[in-house]
Symmetry: C2
Subunit: 311 residues, 2 copies
Amino acid sequence: MKKYCFGIDVGGTTVKCGLFTTDGEVVDKWEVKTRTEDNGAQILPDIAASIKAKIAEKNIADEVEGIGIGLPGPVDDKGILHGAVNLHWVGDRRIEEEFSALTGYPVKAGNDANVAALGELWKGAGVGYDSLIMVTLGTGVGGGIVINGKVIAGSHGAGGEIGHAHVTDELTDKCNCGCCGCLEQVASATGIARLAREELAASDEASLLRDYPAVSAKSVFDCVKQNDAMAIRVAKRFGDYLAKALSSFAVVADPQAIVIGGGVSKAGEVLLDYIREPYQKYTFFACRETDFVLATLGNDAGIFGAAKLVL
Amino acid sequence: MKKYCFGIDVGGTTVKCGLFTTDGEVVDKWEVKTRTEDNGAQILPDIAASIKAKIAEKNIADEVEGIGIGLPGPVDDKGILHGAVNLHWVGDRRIEEEFSALTGYPVKAGNDANVAALGELWKGAGVGYDSLIMVTLGTGVGGGIVINGKVIAGSHGAGGEIGHAHVTDELTDKCNCGCCGCLEQVASATGIARLAREELAASDEASLLRDYPAVSAKSVFDCVKQNDAMAIRVAKRFGDYLAKALSSFAVVADPQAIVIGGGVSKAGEVLLDYIREPYQKYTFFACRETDFVLATLGNDAGIFGAAKLVL
């Protein structure tokens, strides 16, 4: 194996880029603007130019193993991207071939959330494991599944799209995906704020949550830490929904660990307590003691995982 | 690759054995009694003796690629069996090494339900696919997941134990596993009969189901075919529970196909109609058009899949 590889994480506003040694040390990190005009025609050429400049700067043209690239859209198990709304890309694209032609190096592509899971496995909270489910609790709920060190991309690129598991029949409003009752609707930052607003509206009970002009997932867990009864109820409802979904995922993938990341995970270990307890209640005995850990790489998980794709 | 392989499916009363060509033609099939006395100490030696006799009979000692064995217990992704209640085997066993020592050939072991899924992929309903979820609707609900041609065994051997996904909060009685609200409680043959008894008890509505002294899954689908309103309601409830669970499994594994087998699947294509419709309602758009097919290998799926394990 050669000495270096690149990990690229393409987002709707910026592209995060990393130059790594093939044993996973960060050599350099930088960003490129994502130019979405003209249906994003310049995005791949811009990234290729930036990588070539970095290779020239470091004088490592013969020492690059390859380039991994995480993309904000479904990438199937053949490496084909099925559109990427935030990049203004429509239709199927063979990104690996396209980007390899632009750069001259081998390229592997993956969905950004799946790639982030691989990053955590390689150099983050998942070190020492070879299988995990990563749950990213942000504005939505993303996820990635890694089994025996390999991402489950899925035959339609929907492997790890766990935010859209059906978890409740109680909702009548639709998720962004068009279904009702998705995990994302009750366990994302947005979903936790929804549960809090429901609790606030249901009674006049005193709660620290009432001091916030707009209640958020962060305010819920801040109030949980101050032992606020209503905030604790919200956290329990969130944990119960997520645990039920995880209990189903566990009997499919049976990973060694479940890694919780995304903005909501900044609440810290207390968050895991609210997930682990109902998880043990709902989950098949053989996988009841699955480890729960907080993600550690933050926004860098994507470039780490992308780099690992090509190794 | 050599010309022959063996596929062995160990059950609590009989061991099914198959001699196959390595391209999957059945050369011979036979059974061995499962002797569970003395903590099942004779089970592996009995099978080994039977295989050796078959090899001598056919004079193929130098032409055997290996032996695959499906076992009624959790087999993890390292090939270790974690007990098998029906065989009276307690504790962890390295079956691959043990059975290889007894026979002199390479051995691969897997959980019986997972191995059956691999069998359907190789030579049954899954031919042409390389990923599927198999759901076995029998006395219980079993399952197996195959991704890119490989079984997901799981880190605790619980990969594919989909009968124990939590699907409803409405039940207060416990599943055999100790949890409440498992898929198996509402979608197995036993579960379908339970739903039918609930419907019968809930009203005096006329129904063909009332003509059966003991209602069963078979009687439910027999009555569905005669357009019985109550039986149709039961089938819809069953399909709704199973579809919700499958919608969660789909966003984890995103297979090309869902294969339905087990005794309940003898109801035929009508069964798939009751699953497919709610599945499309609950499932993330990218995997909504996943194919549904009926298993075709019946009780032979296990020996086919076991044989495939070693190839």
